[in-house]
Symmetry: C2
Subunit: 314 residues, 2 copies
């Protein structure tokens, strides 16, 4: 048909596709963020099985556990044993959430090679979550960086409630950027900007991502979306359009935050992969294998997880 | 703090926000698309109650039923009675799906003022769904337009499987645009571009929306997304960024298509509203009232609907 080429010419690729990253790195947080609020607590053996299924998918970054108080977060109680089993494995980078210097020592004892720190852009949220001010959190990170550096650890830091706080409401961008800059100044390798209760929107994401990418290399930035209101993938698109090239997600869409009223699950890794692969963006991750891991978790938990791909008719 | 204004200056609004429509029109398709595949069939009384709850939210466009074969689609069996009750009401425009001239006569007998026609961009899908070729569908529409026009009916037409067909796979843009142009040429007021099985992605949406808006006014175009893989709101964002200003959605996220293997629910109206209102786009719709309607439907159906907002902790 003669008209076809004319139609094609009339339908160029949208300009923003030129700014999309060709490859995106996914930081799988299911075994930590996904499970830390789960009343149906997995055994360490089951967590290890979940981590193994995730690693088999080609995921390069897996947050496998947390060195927090087992009394406060029993879901993460076996993390020492879990990381000891992962020690020396080169198939992926296994991250451990470390709240403080004591947690760092536990992590080092288990030969952990990559740690995640946690603060927030909301004072109230940070106080309720870790019992100190943001400045105190940052001072603590600064104090432990030399020891982390001496052991060659990779370090990432979460900035929680970077858009909306369940206690303080909207968090202005001007409160977030100085915290990110200080974290990078401290020497953190990567900052993960978290929409902890899933209230961000594409405009606020694009504004913050744009502002941060003017002062930060994309290699040092990740976004961490929750899908509470179904906006996670729209927010991901807005971040991708700014050039963000790393995203946190949780297989099955499990998760939430015990200290964040209103938080629902992280965006599901398989849903994120579906969006990225659908747009021709590489991840190096086998989506079918991630679905295996998601089904394992769903079967183990015995209830439907929020993942769209898991629920989709095949 | 001195730095704040500098941060603000460093975070302008993203350029694409200038192209966003200030106001979006939502076409609520829950009472038709949402219920037509539901095994738990609502009575006409219950459907009328659902429609009333939707109309109370300020929705201006509600597809309330279909004049299809009650043997084939028993869910829509009471549509004559339902539309007779709605006749003369000015609070919203009540659309009826009309498959053919016989359906049009039924609609006219019930004093319907707005009808929706149905075709597809995939030959196989159209044949399986309505038993004729796309050309035969278009010829049928052309034949019934004079009678529709004589009665002053508003007419919209769906182009189903405009991105991916469950039988034919990817549908190239060049197959979609001529069908849309012919529908507009026939005199249809509005064309709704449907991602029937929820496999579109933001790049393909932006390409098709961009191409259509170069030849069509935004007032004559709507997009109709399903959330099968969780991409509906990301696809909505991509369409908004092109200037699309009308979207179909289904309260509760109910729906699917009996003739489309792999189709899951429409995007939930409340999730769509959450995205739009979160971005500062007006709709004139009261989201809390839509949630009332969603809860009514969920209670009636007795199972969790796919809507994210319905499941979100309050």
């Amino acid at each position: 048909m003669k008209g076809e080429s004319a139609h094609s010419a009339a339908a160029p690729m949208p300009a923003w596709t030129e700014r999309l990253p060709r490859r995106v790195r996914i930081v799988e947080v299911g075994p930590r963020d996904g499970l830390q609020n789960e009343t149906n607590v997995l055994t360490t053996e089951e967590r290890a099985r979940f981590v193994d299924l995730l690693a088999a998918s080609g995921l390069t970054d897996i947050e496998a556990g947390a060195f927090v108080s087992p009394n406060r977060v029993p879901q993460m109680a076996g993390s020492d044993e879990l990381f000891a089993r992962l020690a020396g494995r080169e198939d992926a980078r296994y991250w451990a959430l470390v709240p403080n210097a004591k947690g760092l020592e536990r992590a080092l004892a288990c030969r952990v090679r990559a740690i995640a720190l946690f603060t927030a852009a909301s004072e109230t949220f940070n106080r309720r979550n870790v019992g100190m001010s943001i400045d105190e959190s940052l001072a603590g990170f600064r104090a432990l960086m030399p020891r982390a550096g001496a052991h060659g650890l990779k370090v990432r830091a979460y900035v929680s409630t970077a858009f909306v706080c369940p206690y303080e409401g909207v968090i202005e961008l001007e409160r977030v950027t100085p915290i990110v800059r200080e974290l990078l100044d401290i020497g953190v390798d990567e900052v993960s900007i978290a929409d902890t209760i899933g209230r961000a929107d594409p405009v606020s994401v694009a504004r913050l991502a744009g502002a941060l990418l003017r002062v930060t290399a994309p290699e040092r930035l990740a976004f961490h979306f929750h899908d509470t209101l179904g906006r996670a993938l729209a927010n991901t698109l807005a971040a991708l359009q700014c050039g963000v090239a790393a995203f946190d997600s949780s297989t099955g869409g499990a998760g939430g935050c015990p200290f964040a009223p209103g938080a629902a699950g992280n965006v599901a890794t398989e849903d994120l992969l579906s969006l990225l692969h659908g747009m021709g963006i590489e991840t190096g991750v086998d989506a079918a294998q991630v679905m295996e891991a998601a089904r394992f978790l769903q079967n183990r938990l015995g209830r439907p997880l929020p993942s769209r791909c898991l629920a989709a008719p095949s």
